[in-house]
Structures are given as C-alpha cells and as structure tokens.
C-alpha cells in the first residue's frame, strides 16, 4: 500500500477526475433543470460523451502512470470530508488491480450506452431525465469502485440503487413499472441493512472501515462470520442471488439501455466487487466462505433452470446474467479472485452487447422468420428431452414460477410485515377513534407484492 501525499500529483488528480466528472455531469443537468433551462438533446448527448471519454482517459492515464512508477496500489487521501472532534470521515480513494479495471469498464460502457441512447431515446419525453440518472449512476458506480473505505462505498452503492429504481419506473404512467420499481427498491433497501450493520460492526470491532487500514485477516472467526454474512446479504441483493433473484426480471421494465448498463454490466457486479474487497475477511470465516460458495452455486443452477423457460429476450438475458453472477460468487469463495475479476469484465461486456442488441435482433428475427415463410428453425439443444416426462413437467413448473422464490419472500417477509403493520395501524386507529378502513393488510395503490411482469416488450418497453 502506498499513500500519496497531498501534493498535486497527476495520478491523484487524474483518478479523482474519474469520479468527479460524472458527478459534475449530474450537477450540470440538475441545475439547468432547476433554473428552467431545457438543454437540447444534442448538447446533453455531446456533454455526456465528452464526460465519459474524459473519464475513461483519466483511468487509463492514471493506470499508466502507476505502472510507470511501479506502484501496485494507490491510496489517495483527499482530506476530511467532514470532521467532528476526533472522528473524521475521510474522502479517500483506493486504486489497485481490482478497482482500476472496473473503473475503466464503467466509464467505457457507460459512455457507449450513452452514445447508443442518443438515438434510442430520441424524442422521448424523459430524454433529459434518462441522462441525468445515467450520470447519477456513473457517479455512484465510480465512487463505489474507487472508494477507499467501506463508509464511502456505501455512498456509491446507495446512489447506484437509487438511480436504478428511478430508471425502472422511467415509464411511470404505467402501473407495472411503478409497482416493480417499488419491489426492487424494497429488496435493495432491506438487504442494504446488512451492508450498514456490517460496516457498523466493522467500526465496532476495528474502529475503522478504511480499506487500506483494515487488517481484515486479524478479525477472529466469530467477528469475521458476523461481518462476512452481513456483507454477503447486501451482495446477494445487489447481484440478484437467491432468494433475491426475483427483482431482476422486474427491473427489466426500464429502458433497454439502462437494463444493459445496470443489470447486464455494472450494478449487478457491485455485489461481487464488495465480496472481492471483503475476501480477506471471508478467509477468516469458513462459515461465511461456505455460504458464499453455496449461494453462488445454487444461484447458478437456478439461473440456468429458469432462464430456459423465460418467455422474452430481456428476462432470458437477466437469468443468464444471474447464472454468471452465481459462478462469480463461487469463484470468489474458492479464492480464484483473478478469474472472478476477468469473469466480471468479460461478462459485463458481452451482456451489455446482448442487451443493446436484443430489440433489433428480435426485429430482424421476425423479418427473417416472415420472409422464410415461418420455416426458420429455433435451433439449440434440448437437453431436457433426455429427462423423463414427469420430471420434465415438474421442472418446468418449478422453473416457470422462478423456483417460487418470490412467493417464498412474500410469505416469509412481505406478508408478515404487512400484517404486523396493518395490525399496529388498526390498534392506532382504535386508540385515535375512527377511520376504521384506513389500513388494510396489503396496501392498495402501490404494493410490495406486485405480480411479476409476464412479458416485457423489448422493442420499446
């Protein structure tokens, strides 16, 4: 670990700009909206393109400079964000062989998705809103990957979640996107409790959550198990691992470019990144390590099974992503961190391409299908045919209901919480006297138990 001083080091500046540029883009668009200036689409797209090109060059430049001076990692301390007495929340970024590739990936893919969206979102009423949220996502993701402490990582993590949910409800005049966005938000926030309590526990055990300062190896097994399992809970939610995988098809309600960058590429891999950072801690706890491996393997099998019966392209791609994420979790648990990192990079790239290509691919397929008189062979192997019919039928029923995981979460968490809430509400109203029908067990209007979208129109959502 190398700490760079406060001098105006070009490495520090370049890497800081990687995080700051998307944030500046967000602020510019937000302030222009606030003062009533409606920037033309062309300006918004060009500014976005410039920002991500510059950010990608900054990552490349910073990495090149680090390599030139044989610096394996860089802990850049930019001073206190705020300080109260002896407690200081430092703004510190940490660059190494894990964060730099992911920063490069984020800036390049976000720039590409922005370029794609310029025409895809052309004349959409929410064009500026889309780019505003894309910048918020870019800032959150770069902050999350570059964070020098778990405290700062939370900031990036939450911003990615917030922008994700606001983009799922992008087509907000339909109920489907709204109810599904609420469900995704509830899943995110519930599992984020694990991240916050985990970091709180780290402070309790180590009095610090700064990545370079933490000697996570030295936590005793019991402490490592507590923190490891809490962080795993947060990672499982972000990476759509079972039993939380049901939010991913719901998230496909958003515009296709946002699905590509969030659920094909960057957002879902934040969970894996968290585990990569917590890997030393996991090594101290066989229980936590075993849990990561088990969750990963089970999710991979789940993704394969459910992905084979998905009725639409985006959901099918979502479950393909779930499968790969499960494998990445397993790789991390096994200690194959370099492989896991390469897997993240490769998977993000190919999945982004697939998501962006999905609408036109289907369009072309339909044209070819029609032109050939309906004679185009679906292709592919049907391994299921080797199974007995009764087993196949059971597996199909199991897979088509997505392993009943949403029902399981509903009956284990959502309904009991709703019932408890409704019961407390009724007690309150009895005390207050009147308005007896104000609370019902399952809230109408916007419900946490929204039905799964049956099919998503990938041509224009």
């Amino acid at each position: 670990m190398d700490v760079i001083s406060m001098s105006s080091d070009p490495m520090r500046t370049l890497l800081f700009l990687t995080v700051a540029l998307p944030g500046a883009g967000f602020l510019v668009l937000a302030l222009s909206w606030l003062v009533g200036v409606e920037l033309p689409e062309k300006v918004v797209a060009r500014v976005t393109g410039l920002i991500y090109t510059a950010a990608a060059l900054c990552v490349a430049g910073g990495a090149w400079l680090m390599r030139a001076v044989h610096l394996p990692s860089l802990h850049a301390d930019y001073g206190d964000w705020f300080r109260v007495g002896e407690y200081a929340f430092k703004f510190e970024l940490y660059f190494d062989g894990v964060s730099l590739p992911l920063l490069g990936l984020t800036t390049v893919l976000t720039g590409l998705v922005a370029a794609f969206s310029r025409t895809y979102m052309h004349r959409e009423p929410g064009f500026r809103r889309f780019f505003l949220l894309l910048h918020l996502f870019g800032f959150g993701a770069t902050l999350g990957f570059a964070a020098g402490s778990f405290d700062l990582l939370v900031g990036g993590w939450e911003l990615v979640g917030l922008s994700s949910v606001l983009l799922i409800s992008y087509f907000f005049e339909r109920q489907g996107p709204v109810t599904n966005a609420l469900r995704v938000f509830a899943t995110y926030r519930s599992a984020d409790v694990g991240l916050l309590v985990g970091i709180f526990s780290l402070h309790h055990f180590r009095h610090s959550a700064a990545l370079p300062a933490l000697d996570l190896h030295t936590l005793d097994p019991q402490q490592a198990t507590i923190v490891g399992l809490l962080l795993l809970l947060a990672a499982m939610s972000k990476a759509a691992q079972i039993p939380f995988s049901g939010w991913l098809p719901r998230a496909m309600e958003g515009p296709t470019p946002s699905s590509a960058i969030f659920y094909g590429a960057i957002s879902v891999h934040l969970g894996a990144y968290l585990l990569l950072r917590a890997r030393p801690l996991l090594e101290s706890s066989p229980v936590a390590l075993g849990a990561v491996a088990l969750v990963g393997l089970a999710t991979a099998l789940h993704g394969v099974l459910v992905g084979r019966v998905c009725p639409d392209a985006k959901t099918s791609l979502a479950y393909a992503a779930v499968t790969q994420l499960g494998l990445i979790f397993f790789e991390i648990a096994m200690g194959w961190t370099t492989l896991a990192l390469l897997h993240i990079l490769g998977h993000s790239t190919i999945r982004t391409l697939q998501f962006l290509r999905a609408p036109s691919m289907l369009h072309e397929y339909h044209r070819i299908h029609a032109a050939s008189g309906g004679l185009v062979d679906g292709g592919g192997l049907s391994l299921e045919a080797a199974l007995p019919f009764a087993l196949r039928r059971r597996l199909y029923w199991f897979a088509v209901d997505r392993a009943h995981l949403d029902r399981l979460l509903d009956s284990a968490a959502v309904r009991p919480l709703s019932r408890l809430s409704a019961w407390l509400g009724r007690v309150e109203q009895k005390l207050a006297g009147g308005e007896k029908l104000a609370v019902r067990p399952v809230p109408v209007g916007a419900t946490l138990s929204a039905p799964m979208p049956e099919e998503v129109d990938v041509l224009h959502d």
């Binding site: 402070h203 104000a438 809230p443």
Partner: protein, 420 residues
C-alpha cells in the same frame, strides 16, 4: 425583564432555521389555509416556538409551549386524543417547571425562575420534576406511548401548521435546555430510557408506515420515526452523536416541511381527498413538485448526497458505545421509511396517464423558489457538511460537557452562557 430571554450557541441556529421554515411554509401555504383567523394560528405557533427556544424564564418557557400548542388544542376538527395529549403535555411541563422553581426557591436561589440562575444547582432527588418533563417531552415529540396524536392531527387538521408544531422539536429543546442542565443525575440516568423509547418509536413508526395508505398519515408515521432518533443522539454523551442529532434535527425539519408542503400543494390541485387507494399519476403534470418530493424524501431517509446521510453517519458512529442497538434500529427504520416514502411518491405522482383535459399549473414561482431553497439547502449541506457541523459544534461541545458529570459548572450550560 433582564435575562428573561437568551440567545446562545444552542438556540440561535434552530431559531433562525425555524424562522426560515415558518416563512417558507407561509409563502407555500394555499390561500384557503390562511383564510379567516387561521393566520392567527400561524403567528401563535411561531411566537410560541420562538419563546421556547429563547426563554430563560421558566414561566415564559411554559407560556411558549402552551401558545404553540394552542392552535391544535382549539381546532374542533381534531379528535379528543390530540387535544387531550396537547393539554397533558402542557400541564406536565408547567408542573415540572413549577416544581423546579419551587425547589430552587427553597434552596435559597434568588432568581429561581431563571434557567441560567438554576443551572449551577446540582439537584438531589429530582425524579418527580424529571418524570413530568419526560412526560411532556414524550408527548410533544410523539414518542411511544403518547405518539398517536401526530397522525391524527396530520390527517384531520391543518397539515402545515401541525408540521410546524412537530418541527419545533420541543422534546429535544427541553432535554438540552432544561432537563440536562438542571436535573443532573436524575435526568442522566433516566434519559437512557427516553432515548431507548425514541429508538423503539423509530422502528414502530416505520413499521406502521409500511401498510398505511393515507398520504398524510403515512407521512406522519415517517416523520415521527425519523425524528425519534434525535433523542438517542442528544443523550449519548458523545460529541459526534450530539452533532449528528443536531444535524438530524435540521434534516427532519427541512425535509418533512418540504414533504408536507408538496403534499398539501398536490391536495389543493387535486381538489378531492387523496385516499391512497389508487395512483394519482400527477407526475407528468407537476414534474417540479415530483422532483422536490423525491429529493426531500431521499434526504429524510439518509441517502447520500444529502445532509441526511451525514447526520445518520454521525448518529450511528457516535452512539455506538452508549446505544449499541442504534446500529440496528436506524438502518431498519430508515430502510422501512425509505420504502414508505417511495410508495407515497408512487401513489401521488406515478402509475397513471391522466387525460390532458384540465390545465393546472406545476409549482408556480411563489412555490418553486421556497421549495428549491429547501432542497438546495439539504443537498448543499450534504455535499459540504462541515458548514453545518461548524454551526452546531459549539453547542454540541457544551452539551457533551453538561452530560459529563465532572463538568457540571454554570459556564457549561447552554441556557446560562448566552448573550442576553
């Protein structure tokens, strides 16, 4: 009348903030909320709150308390629960202060009605006055078990006035200006119970908000829940947590005021009661109101980029030793509150395509700038939090000294250390 009012490092910022919020709410209030003699209620709430913040005289303190509660006590639309609760809180406070004054007089204090004069006294057997003050604090802050008046008053009464009464945060003021400096050990021992009740209320309010679908009530539960954690920070004996509590006080006041205002503006534009049984879908018509709602809501539940993130970080880290379970209570409560806020956002602004038959304007200039100022304040202080921290650090240090038994000196008391 010398020394009857005091302005010091503790009350100057809350007083200024409250004055600005009151003004912003007054500008934002629809005409029907100011019709008739209603402006008198607004003035009573402000005058009462300003008195409580600045009073050095115990009688003025009690008078301010009752004056600010009067609009709710005299509102015939509110149920008995609210009116009895407000009366109970006022009586408990008056009795508690009366006992303090009587004990000060019997101890030979020449000015037993002045907070600054009494603050040097270390009390023995102050349990009864403290119990009465605790009752008043619990009632006014809407802490379990005397919390039910808040959703009732929000639902049936004037939303903005009730919001202003709630955002006076008299419970926190009384703990910091009266209970801690005057009652010494009696308050220090029992405040832990009060803080734990606050944390319990935070979780309770958040759970009730999950299923409530009436917008006003839902917002009331979220406001109670978020405001309840302030006491745990104030009582924590730790500068970080006390500063966090003071920042959280600012966040809750600004964010809930903005949320109440946006809800009220949507209500008057909608024209009918909003039952929450269906989506209103006014987001396309009122995009600015929708954005103001989102930003205020995000700040209230402590998401990054806002002052709420900072206040919760300080609260959690600071109260780690004194209230270990704050580390669970705050994340759980804020997670549920965030879900409640997003659900309310959905109910009000999303989920429906409205036919373009009626032209109702989005936030007009009179409404736009006060709301913009409120959310800009939340975001700007969230990005540069040291400004807000510096504003409250002197008061936090003083309060920390008061809570520390070795520093029970008169110069450490907020009430006795101001410029008169």
């Amino acid at each position: 009348m010398t020394n009857w009012l005091v302005l010091d490092s503790f009350n100057s910022v809350p007083l200024l903030l409250y004055a600005l919020l009151w003004l912003a709410m007054l500008i934002l209030a629809p005409k029907q909320d100011l019709a008739g003699n209603r402006i008198t209620r607004w003035l009573m709430v402000f005058a009462g709150t300003a008195l409580v913040y600045t009073a050095n005289h115990l009688a003025l303190y009690a008078a301010g308390w009752v004056l600010s509660a009067w609009p709710l006590m005299e509102d015939s639309r509110l149920g008995r629960l609210t009116r009895i609760s407000m009366a109970l809180g006022g009586v408990a406070l008056a009795l508690g202060l009366g006992l303090i004054m009587q004990r000060g007089a019997s101890a030979g204090n020449a000015d037993p009605w002045l907070l600054s004069s009494l603050s040097g006294t270390v009390w023995a057997g102050g349990q009864l006055p403290f119990a009465l003050l605790t009752l008043a604090v619990i009632q006014r802050k809407g802490i379990f078990p005397i919390h039910s008046w808040v959703p009732q008053a929000m639902q049936r009464g004037d939303l903005l006035i009730t919001g202003l009464v709630l955002n006076g945060h008299f419970g926190a003021v009384t703990v910091a200006r009266v209970a801690l400096p005057l009652l010494g050990d009696a308050s220090r021992a029992s405040l832990t119970v009060l803080a734990d009740l606050g944390l319990f209320t935070a979780v309770l309010g958040a759970i009730v908000a999950v299923a409530d679908r009436k917008p006003r009530r839902l917002l009331a539960w979220v406001a109670i829940s978020q405001a309840s954690t302030i006491l745990a920070g104030l009582e924590s004996l730790n500068q970080q947590a006390i500063t966090g509590a003071m920042l959280h006080w600012m966040v809750v006041s600004i964010a809930t005021s903005a949320l109440f205002a946006v809800l009220r503006l949507v209500e008057v534009r909608h024209g009918l009661a909003i039952t929450g049984t269906e989506y209103l879908g006014v987001g396309r018509r009122f995009p600015r109101l929708a954005v103001f709602f989102v930003v205020a809501g995000v700040a209230l539940v402590g998401l990054p980029g806002t002052l709420g993130f900072i206040s919760e970080d300080l609260l959690m880290h600071g109260a780690l030793e004194s209230h270990p379970w704050i580390g669970l209570a705050i994340p759980v409560a804020t997670a549920l509150n965030a879900i409640g806020i997003f659900r309310l956002f959905g109910i009000l602004f999303l989920g429906r395509r409205l036919a373009p038959t009626m032209i109702v304007p989005d936030a007009v200039t009179r409404e736009r700038w006060p709301l913009a100022a409120l959310i800009l304040l939340l975001v700007a202080l969230g990005l540069v939090p040291q400004v807000a921290i510096n504003l409250r650090s002197a008061a936090a240090v003083k309060l920390e000294r008061i809570e520390s038994p070795v520093a029970l000196t008169s110069d450490a008391m907020p009430a006795g250390n101001g410029s008169h």
